[in-house]
Amino acid sequence: MFDFSIVTAWIDHFLRTYLDEGWALLVEFVLVGLVILTVYAVLALLLIYIERKICAFFQCRIGPNRVGPWGVFQSVADMVKILLKEIIKIDRADPLLFRIASFLVIIASICTFGAIPFDPALHAVNFNMGVFYLLAVSSLGVIGILLAGWSSNNKYTMIGAMRSGAQLISYELSCGLSLMSIVVLAGSMQLSEIVNQQAEMWFIFKGHIPACIAFLIYLIAGHAETNRGPFDLPEAESELTAGYHTEYSGIQFGFFYLAEYLNMFIIAAIASTMFLGGWMPLHIVGWEAFNGVMDMIPPVVWFFGKTFFCVFLALWIRWSFPRLRIDQLLSLEWKVLMPLALINILFMALCVM
């Protein structure tokens, strides 16, 4: 089976033969950064295209099909345009915070993106408390959103920001708690360790019912974290025109747009890593031949297959449900999901014991 350790080891070897230890490391850092940024951008474009196409199919439409074969370059055209679009200076807005906000959102999203294990070898940041890092960094984005809403000097953005503050901080809890039940099961917070433990069986099967419940809670809460329908209250197109990013134009808006799609991907990626075994192929204990066949499929394909399955679930929900109201949204979190997640951890602990 092919995995990226061959490529990365070769690059490492190549650099070390020509450069000092320190320089080689520096070049590697830069390379990793560049690759992450590129993959981030390309994935975002791909996701935008996928969403537009899938949404069209849900709605009995065709979706983009004029730019390039099957319209695959549609989002590239969008990118070209948005890069050259005017960035409007808003009167009486806080100029510094207004600028920073969009960067904060995208930085939080890129930082989280870097910590995802795509492949045994493609894992840029592998902390021993990776899960904690993911939760901590991904929740930075809410600061960007709050700043964006506040600094735009606009009433819609303000309402959007307040909604998103209430929503993201609440859902962060059940998000974290549902991941915690997997940490309890795995006994580790290191993402590579968690994935390796799923070699025999994915956690969603291994953890019995508590893991399934945690998976569901995570999908719901994670979906809410991405600000996408039915939880798209901060944007709420029909209510707040464009929510917290109403006043943003050009590439600054592009950042919010990219971050929105990539957050969806990140949530799906974390779900697949924690519950569905990440890049680990499907193994069934005792079926050696079957396991052998499964191992033939490269880990990257496994990872993206599972992640895009979760993305598809998110899109399916997004395009078939109406939006919740703010009080319903909060009572769903505080009265249903969070107590459930807490009890679930207890159950998980009992199961593990």
Binding site: F58, Q59, C60, R61, K155, Y156, I159, R163, G229, P230, D232, L233, A236, E237, S238, E239, L240, T241, W319, S320, F321, P322, R323, L324, R325, I326, D327, Q328
Partner: protein, 545 residues
């Protein structure tokens, strides 16, 4: 009938005249409020539904006509008339304290004729800017564009919040008052005029407390095209195309109403075939309009897919229209005396095929949205409108019927071919958002039933009666009520025997619906306000005319 005649005779200083189901009652302007309150509150028969207030410029005097209906006997109307000969400072007592719907109607009359209503606390102009010069529907209005150039700046919000009023207290002291619409500390948000969910160019000013709506103030006129004034310079066949563009979603129904009013005046016998065709087209329009209303409401709640599904099914109706009428949205089909052209040979086949298709799709719509737990959670228990309030506000159509008010003109005063079809008037009793939502889908079913019964029995013969090249209506007033897809649409034509009408007034069903929104949205959340707007399903160009 006798009750009404007795009642009318008792009114102070009244002269009564009866025309079919209509009683024309003229009272002097000093006695107007007494007469109105007697009609509203008496022991025998309460006239609880103020259908419309019509302003009229008689040349030397300015008149106001109140169209009153008692919901117990909905087929009969009283037209209470009064006039004032002071053209400089015309003043008439308000009836806002008797009917909630009078609020916007009186502002409209003030806007068009400059008649100030004494004791009405809000005497802003309704459609035109506060700084507009002149009163356009007066006969001596100066339409010089120099006087009212295209403005460069949007209207001053302070001016829009200042409510002027003229009040006369019990001692007879005149007070010119100015109130402020909002309190100083209110967090006021503009919804519109350019907003995705205001269903046209409606401008809502909303005072918020957190997410909770404290006060709603609708502002109109962002699509006011002066259709009523234009009608006064158009011949009757020319007016038809303006009506289509008023409420474009129930265009054919409203056009049908105008044709009926003119035919009534001409005493023209319309062929039965035309009646049948018009009725089928009307019902198709109603289905299309309800589908769009349903889709837009779902879209307002965030379900874009439902909107697309609604539009998809609507296209089938558009196909049928296109084939027979030649137009998609503006069918341009009814003309005075019949219909424009005979139906397409495939018309019946297509309509017959459409009925089962729509039934199947309705099931799908119910599965997609009605049964959706989030949708149910959003709609249930929100936006209560009681029957009394609905009547007082004049919220006709599906909105009133969802509150239990039986107001279907097709049943009350059947016109065209409705008397040949069996159908039920959809009534619900709870008056909640969910009822207003479901009743639209139920009405689609009923419309399908009507179409099914009529489409196979279209009688032969001519599709239009012969009319003269120049249509001149005899002197008099002609009134026709039809059931539009958003509510009761009334046409009032005042003719002086010429080829142009002297005054045309359309009762817009949507104006009362926006007024309803103002009342039921208080205390709900922002998201609910948008949803309520969707559930009332108003069309702004119909209001602004």
């Amino acid at each position: 009938m006798k009750v009404i005649a007795d009642l009318a005779a008792q009114l102070p200083g009244a002269t009564v005249e009866q025309q079919g189901n209509t009683f024309l009652v003229a009272v002097p302007k000093e006695k107007l409020h007494d007469a109105a309150s007697m009609l509203r509150h008496n022991s025998k028969l309460q006239f609880d539904y103020l259908n419309d207030i019509i302003g009229l410029d008689n040349g030397d005097t300015l008149g106001v006509i109140y169209v009153l209906v008692a919901t117990q006997f909905s087929a009969y109307t009283i037209r209470l008339k009064t006039e004032t000969d002071d053209r400089e400072n015309p003043e008439i007592d308000t009836v806002v304290d008797l009917w909630d719907s009078a609020d916007l109607y009186e502002r409209e009359v003030y806007d068009f004729f400059g008649i100030r209503f004494v004791n009405n606390p809000d005497m802003r102009r309704l459609f035109l800017r506060q700084d507009w010069v002149g009163y356009p529907l007066r006969k001596d209005y100066d339409a010089d564009p120099e006087l009212n150039p295209i403005p460069h700046e949007a209207e001053d919000l302070d001016k829009m919040e200042d409510l002027p009023s003229l009040e006369i207290d019990l001692n007879g002291a005149r007070l010119e008052k100015h109130r402020q619409l909002f309190e100083k500390e209110d967090y006021v948000v503009n919804f519109g005029p350019q907003h995705p969910s205001t269903h046209g160019a409606l401008h809502l000013r909303i005072a918020l407390e957190g997410e909770i709506v404290k006060k709603v103030d609708p502002n109109f006129g962002y699509i006011h095209r002066g259709i009523e004034k234009m009608c006064e310079a158009d011949t009757y066949p020319q007016i038809l195309h303006l009506i289509d563009r008023m409420d474009y979603l129930s265009a054919t129904i409203h056009r049908h109403g105008f044709c009926l009013a003119v035919e009534k005046g001409l005493q023209l016998e319309t062929p039965e075939r035309a009646h049948y065709i018009r009725t089928i087209i009307d019902e198709l329009t109603r289905i299309a309009s309800h589908l769009l209303g349903w889709g837009c409401m779902c879209n307002d709640m965030g379900a874009i897919t439902a909107f697309i599904y609604g539009m998809r099914d609507r296209e089938k109706i558009m196909d049928i229209f296109e084939q027979t009428c030649g137009g998609r949205l503006m069918a341009n089909y009814s003309v005075i005396g019949g219909v424009m052209a005979d139906i397409h040979p495939d018309f019946q086949k297509k309509v017959r095929a459409f009925v089962p298709y729509m039934r199947k799709m309705l099931k799908e719509h119910h599965i997609l949205f009605t049964g959706n737990p989030i949708a149910r959670g959003r709609m249930e228990g929100v936006g209560y409108l009681s029957k009394e309030k609905a009547i007082s506000l004049g919220a006709t159509g599906p909105t009133g019927r969802a509150s239990g008010w039986s107001n279907d003109v097709r049943k009350i005063a059947p016109y065209a071919a409705y008397r040949h079809a069996e159908f039920a008037e959809m009534l619900r009793t709870d008056g909640l958002t969910f009822d207003r939502y479901v009743i639209r889908l139920d009405e689609i079913e009923e419309s399908l039933k009507i179409i099914e019964q009529l489409v196979d029995n279209i009688p032969g013969g001519a599709y239009a009666a012969k009319t003269k090249a120049i249509i001149k209506l005899p002197e008099g007033e002609f009134h026709q009520r039809v059931e539009g897809s958003h509510g009761e649409f009334d046409v009032y034509i005042n003719s002086r025997g010429e080829k142009y009408p002297y005054r045309v007034k359309f009762r817009s069903p949507c104006m009362t619906l926006v007024n309803t929104l103002k009342h039921i949205a208080v205390g709900t959340k922002v998201a609910d306000l948008i949803m309520l707007g969707g559930s009332l399903d108003y069309v702004i160009p119909c209001i602004d005319r």
